[in-house]
């Protein structure tokens, strides 16, 4: 990387930034899930490893959340955008050099930010736990250059039209800057109380709604038509998806605080819009699954399609839960329980991660012009991820329902802790499977670049048979 940081733009091969972002994202995924496994072990076995202050759960939860969101998920988004956006515009990335610097400063900033959390420097606000200088660094040094590179690649495209994927990429990275600067206002201006709570959840809601969900969808809009060779089922349904995300997902976010003394009209409005996220969800899932017509065999045979469609299928329960769990009646039961933790992992480790893994698998092969090193290792990684995630999701959903019942019927707290103990162990096992599977993935990707069979000129990875 050092070589390319100081190289001239013309001397940097196309796709370099995307490759760096891809491997850095996988590394952060390993770190993030490793810490997640450690945290889950502490919840399953509370007496385990209690002597080092910096490694206590309160610190490590924050480090885990931010390592996976900004290291893995957003890093993989950046990797995807840096090779997908130019391809869709029949052009090159606006600046590979900016992309390489972006990746370098991204990793420096994230390492710095996570270190501050480790040492107890935190805003104490969930999902926006970083202190304000780190927030400004993320917005201006990490995300702004990424947005400029993506936006300028779209501006300098050699097509007249802009494909659906690029609407989402450009829109989401632009909105992320706004979300970061506005959502962290409580720290910049010392807002407290209800204002702070509201802005905190406005931020968290929109990181999910205007970044993670739409960008994961954008990736699938690219992978499925590209790999299957089918045209996207409907351009106009893409419009419905995009604009309904903008209109319904970006709305007030007060449904995250249904028990707070926020104005009732704001909570009701947010709650209606919360159910209406099913509009983009239905439009999106229909569009992708109908694009698969006649190519369903690839769901079994092709690695990228297997990951992508699994992610799309997980988007169905994700949106059903998301739409209804915030309504007054259901929120009363599940708020503040493990159900919400399970739902968050369904979004990030389920839908989003599967889509991003597909993008990284496809991107590395396309850019390096090498066929995937091992189908067997990719399948092993897939099943470790899917089974590990499923164990996590199901166990935490059950634990959440137990906690909800305990909360409503005022069962003593310790009795609830004892009742959910088996599920905490399953959670740890599931998370650890994901963590271990990621090492196999890293090895497979490294070997693909180093020893994968070269792709013949004019052919794409999906056109060539797997060899291992």
């Amino acid at each position: 990387m050092i070589k390319y940081l100081f190289a001239k733009e013309k001397d940097i091969p196309g796709g370099t930034a995307a490759i760096f972002f891809s491997f850095s994202a996988i590394m952060w995924f390993i770190i993030g899930t490793g810490i997640g496994s450690f945290n889950a072990a502490k919840l399953a076995f509370p007496d385990w490893f209690t002597h080092l202050y910096a490694l206590q759960f309160g610190h490590m939860r924050q480090v885990h959340v931010h390592a996976v969101i900004f290291g893995w998920i957003t890093g993989a988004f950046a990797a995807s955008a840096m090779y997908v956006v130019p391809q869709l515009g029949n052009t090159k990335l606006w600046s590979e050099k900016l992309g390489v610097w972006n990746c370098f400063l991204w990793n420096v900033g994230l390492a710095l930010g996570l270190s501050t959390l480790w040492f107890g420097m935190t805003s104490g606000r969930e999902y926006s736990d970083f202190i304000w200088p780190i927030d400004i660094y993320i917005a201006l040094v990490m995300v702004l250059p990424l947005f400029i590179n993506i936006f300028m690649s779209i501006v300098t495209r050699r097509t007249q039209g802009i494909y659906t994927t690029n609407w989402f990429f450009a829109g989401s990275f632009f909105m992320l800057i706004i979300v970061f600067l506005v959502g962290n206002a409580p720290e910049f201006f010392h807002l407290t109380g209800l204002n702070e709570a509201y802005m905190t959840w406005w931020f968290a809601h929109n990181v999910l709604g205007l970044l993670i969900t739409p960008v994961a969808a954008a990736i699938t809009y690219y992978i499925v038509p590209k790999v299957t060779g089918n045209p996207l089922y409907s351009h106009r349904v893409g419009h419905l998806h995009f604009w309904s995300i903008v209109v319904f997902y970006s709305t007030p976010a007060a449904h995250h605080l249904m028990s707070s003394p926020l104005p009732e009209w704001l909570k009701s409005f947010a709650s209606v819009e919360g159910v209406l996220i099913l509009v983009p969800a239905v439009a999106y899932v229909c569009n992708i699954l109908l694009t698969m017509q006649g190519k369903w065999a690839m769901f079994v045979e092709n690695v990228e399609i297997k990951y992508t469609i699994t992610g799309v299928l997980l988007a169905i329960p994700l949106n059903m839960q998301g739409g209804f769990q915030q309504t007054r009646a259901i929120n009363w039961y599940v708020h503040g329980t493990g159900w919400i933790v399970a739902h968050a992992h369904l979004a990030l480790l389920g839908f989003s991660t599967f889509a991003e893994a597909a993008a990284v698998y496809y991107g590395i092969q396309t850019i390096a012009r090498r066929k995937l090193y091992s189908l067997s290792l990719a399948n092993f990684h897939f099943w470790m991820l899917l089974i590990g995630f499923s164990l996590y999701w199901v166990s935490m959903t059950i634990a959440g329902l137990i906690q909800g019942a305990g909360k409503i019927y005022e069962v003593p707290y310790m009795d609830i802790v004892i009742a959910e103990h088996p599920y905490m162990i399953v959670r740890w096992l599931g998370g650890t499977m994901v963590f271990l599977g990621n090492f196999v993935w890293l090895y497979n990707m490294y070997m693909t670049v180093k020893a994968g069979d070269k792709l013949p000129v004019g052919l794409q990875p999906q056109d060539v048979a797997y060899v291992r």
Binding site: V84, Q87, L88, G89, N90, T159, Q160, G161, I162, Y163, T164, Y222, P225, K226, P231, L232, Y233, S234, H235, R236, V237, G238, H239, L240, W243, S244, V247, F248, T251, M258, P261, P263, E264, W265, L266, K267, S268, F269, A270, S271, V272, E273, G274, V275, L276, L278, V279, V282, A283, C286, L290, F324, T327, R328, A329, N331, W332, Q460
Partner: protein, 227 residues
């Protein structure tokens, strides 16, 4: 016009269900659609399947119905205001002080008497009272605070909510006028619902115009031109 509102360029409204673009616009869109390869990806021009359209309409109805505050919305202090007067009346106090009854029996009989008396008079709070029933213990907790608020001039109890053991202003809407009343106050059945309906209708209008600017749905692009 086109510089600021390209959405309205070449707008044609004589056949809005088919397309809202003029012939030149439609032909231009078709040409780009068929002659341009977006990184090797093509797009079809299919409509949303009709059952899915029905599903989306059902989603909107569900959103409005499910979020309606039948449950979970905090009760206003105003709906319990009349309880206090009857609670303080001699017949109710006589039951509560009856030493031949257990405290549980006394509470239940006294509350039954209060509810029977309330049913004798029509009230705009009848429905909300059935949503938020209370026990005598609840009434005792809110008694002092409710009486204090009733005796304070210029207080509108509808603005106060019962939150746990407290009665507090918890619904901030509208500025105060000089006489101490609010500029506006939404009824309990419209806490943001009209806003939601306008928002949804605005969305539908914008998206329908956007997709109806495309070539009509009976046109199928020929992908062999560019691919």
């Amino acid at each position: 016009m086109s510089k600021f509102l390209p959405l309205f360029d070449g707008l044609k409204l004589n056949s809005p269900l088919k397309t809202m673009s003029d012939d030149a616009g439609v032909e231009n869109a078709k040409h780009i659609w068929e002659n341009e390869s977006l990184g090797g990806i093509a797009e079809n021009n299919n409509p949303l399947p009709r059952p899915v359209v029905g599903l989306l309409l059902l989603t909107f109805i569900t959103a409005m119905a499910w979020t309606f505050p039948l449950f979970g919305q905090r009760p206003s202090a105003a709906i319990y205001s009349d309880y206090i007067g009857i609670y303080k009346s001699d017949p109710v106090q006589r039951i509560l002080n009856d030493t031949t009854l257990t405290s549980k029996e006394a509470d239940e009989r006294a509350m039954a008497m209060i509810e029977k008396a309330l049913a004798e008079f029509p009230s705009k709070y009848e429905f909300q009272r059935t949503q938020h029933p209370i026990t005598m213990s609840d009434l005792r907790i809110m008694e002092d605070k409710l009486i204090e608020l009733q005796q304070t001039p210029g207080i509108d109890l509808e603005e106060y909510s019962i939150i746990g053991n407290e009665i507090v202003v918890a619904n901030f809407e509208g500025n105060y006028k000089a006489d101490g009343t609010r500029e506006k106050k939404q009824p309990w059945w419209d806490k943001g619902y009209k806003t939601a309906i306008f928002w949804f209708l605005g969305f539908c209008l914008a998206v329908i115009i956007t997709v109806k600017r495309l070539p009509p749905i009976d046109w199928k692009p020929d992908h062999s031109v560019a691919h």
